[in-house]
């Protein structure tokens, strides 16, 4: 897919979002789609995910059937290339799974040494797949493998994660020709500090706190100057991580830490909504859909939260005589 074709595909996605937000009608969206044709087959993120999972299950079953990483890898890569070149599969999820699954199948043919350098092989496989199918998630997967390798070799994984996130944000300060490249920097900026959390050593908590706080301030500054959602997301991730580390270092009871964190967030949201109320330019509060599934995620998260909150609240209860279930149901207690 050329950069121009990628931008047209992005415009298709934007048009759908504008339609959902009521900025354009369905007819205008359809007219845009018919005038801006790339010839590539592509899907939205959720549909891509379904195709990706189905294809990966098929590759795994084929691997089990053939018992050969070489056969599975070569067949997957050949089919992936055929679909890309001949059938114009751009971002369907199928070709991405074939490329990643194929390369990982080939990796299984290599001799097992137990060396940490195997992580670099996995990183290379993910990176090559990312580059071929222009998939930002595979690119970040490669970066995570490199981070784990640095952690195993030099105990520097966390630092690498923070530095990579900072570099990604600086990269986001400019416009990229390919939307997929911009998405890679977005996902890396947000994902690396999250991944870094899992390799941060307990003995380095103070240093980790300082690094997270520094990254958060950098992200917030850049976010305000450049007005970018990914930078605000990095600021949120870094501030949250720093807050958790600060609570751990201070020995704050969890209920106090959660209560303070929740109170600060709710208050901050309320203050921002008050300040931006009625604003028409600059920072505003116009309703925006980040994904088509925003409300589903929000409702699902709320239901899960209700279940856990009430489970904790009722955990002093004695075991019920029925004894065949657990707490649940919009946060209610009880045993089925």
């Amino acid at each position: 897919m050329t950069p121009a074709e990628e931008r047209i595909a992005l415009l298709h996605e934007r048009a759908e979002r504008w339609r959902r937000e009521g900025l354009i009608s369905g007819e205008v969206r359809a007219a845009l789609r018919s005038q801006l044709v790339t010839g590539w087959r592509s899907n939205g993120f959720i549909v891509q995910s379904v195709f990706f999972v189905l294809t990966m299950v098929g590759i795994a079953a084929f691997y089990a059937l053939s018992r050969s990483g070489l056969v599975t890898g070569m067949a997957s890569l050949a089919l992936g290339e055929y679909l890309i070149r001949e059938r114009r599969y751009g971002r369907t999820g199928v070709e991405a799974a074939l490329w990643l699954g194929g390369l990982l199948a080939l990796v299984t043919e290599l001799p097992r040494t137990g060396s940490p350098e195997a992580l670099l092989v996995l990183a290379a496989a993910s990176g090559i797949a990312a580059f071929r199918v222009r998939n930002p998630l595979f690119g970040v997967l490669a970066a995570v493998f490199v981070m784990i390798w640095f952690e195993n070799r030099f105990d520097l994984g966390f630092l690498i994660a923070i530095v990579f996130s900072a570099i990604s944000m600086i990269a986001l300060a400019r416009r990229w020709e390919r939307p997929s490249t911009e998405w890679f920097w977005c996902v890396a900026a947000v994902g690396m500090p999250l991944a870094g959390w899992f390799v941060a050593g307990r003995e380095w908590r103070t240093v980790s706190l300082v690094l997270y706080a520094g990254l958060g301030m950098l992200a917030l500054t850049l976010a305000i100057i450049r007005r970018h959602h990914a930078m605000f997301a990095v600021a949120g991730v870094a501030a949250g991580s720093a807050g958790i580390l600060a609570a751990q270092l201070a020995g704050t009871p969890p209920e106090l830490a959660f209560g303070l964190g929740g109170g600060v967030l709710l208050l901050l949201a309320w203050v921002v909504s008050r300040v931006l109320r009625d604003r028409k330019e600059g920072f505003v509060l116009t309703p925006v859909n980040v994904t088509a599934m925003d409300e589903v995620f929000e409702i699902g998260g709320s239901v899960v939260a209700a279940t856990h909150t009430s489970g904790a609240a009722a955990s002093h209860a004695e075991t019920r005589p029925q004894g065949d279930g657990g707490f649940g149901g919009a946060g209610a207690t009880g045993e089925f």
Partner: protein, 297 residues
Amino acid sequence: MLGDRTADVLIARERREVFSLQPEVRIAAWAGAVLLATAAGMVLKNNLDRIGPLTLAIAMGVIAAACYAWVWARRDRASVVDDYVLLLGALLFSADVAFIEAQFRLFGEGWHRHFILLAFVHAVGAYRYGSRTLLSLSVVALAAWMGIEQRTPSAIWIEPVEHGLRALACAGIVLVWRLIDQRVHRGTTFTTVFEHFAANFALAGGVALMSDDAARVAGCLLTITIAVAVIRWGFHVRREAFVLYGFVYAVIAIDVLLLHLIGGRNETISFLIIVASMAVSIAALIAIHGRFRESAA
């Protein structure tokens, strides 16, 4: 094609001259409400001996009521944050009811009736405040009362047939609720919520039946039938989510059925079936997705 006004709006947005912080505010408010409710649950759990159950229950109830009252008092000048203050109130109320039932056993042997109390209160809240989130809490409480919802997903495998039948019954009740809502609730925005819950309860019921050796074939056939109906409904209302998860459930049911009928004990045939079914599934989903796009255009 876009018109000057729309074009100006989109250009300003593209240049970030106008930049909406609404997603960030919503996420912060949602996370704040959930963290506060989690903290409240921990306070109830950890301070029972020190403060006493009655004081804790009353305090929690007062805070929950204050959240509802705050949002009600501001209903004419509501901001995006008010939705999450309401959510906080609902979460605290749920936790409080759970705590009271666990401590005082007001319902005695019929303890599970407190789910109905929760379902009713959340439903009233949903209609008074027009909140789809509260409606979802209500439907899940109803499902819990009917014995579907469990803390651990593995619990469903203990009594799969009973769970499956209860899930199907719950799907039926939610569909009836949807019909009543459409008739009596003018300008309702709840229809899609009911439909998603009904579809998922029905499909989950079919999957539960599939996990029972004796009911496996019937469960697979039922799941496939429901999945086809859900996919058709997705086409009818032009919502791709129905099509997608209906399709995924159908693929699972078909694979389980084939493995059960043909390849159960032969590993090679089993893998061959999975490879073939994934290839067919992908081809079928491409065709369905293409048709959906055409019909939605």
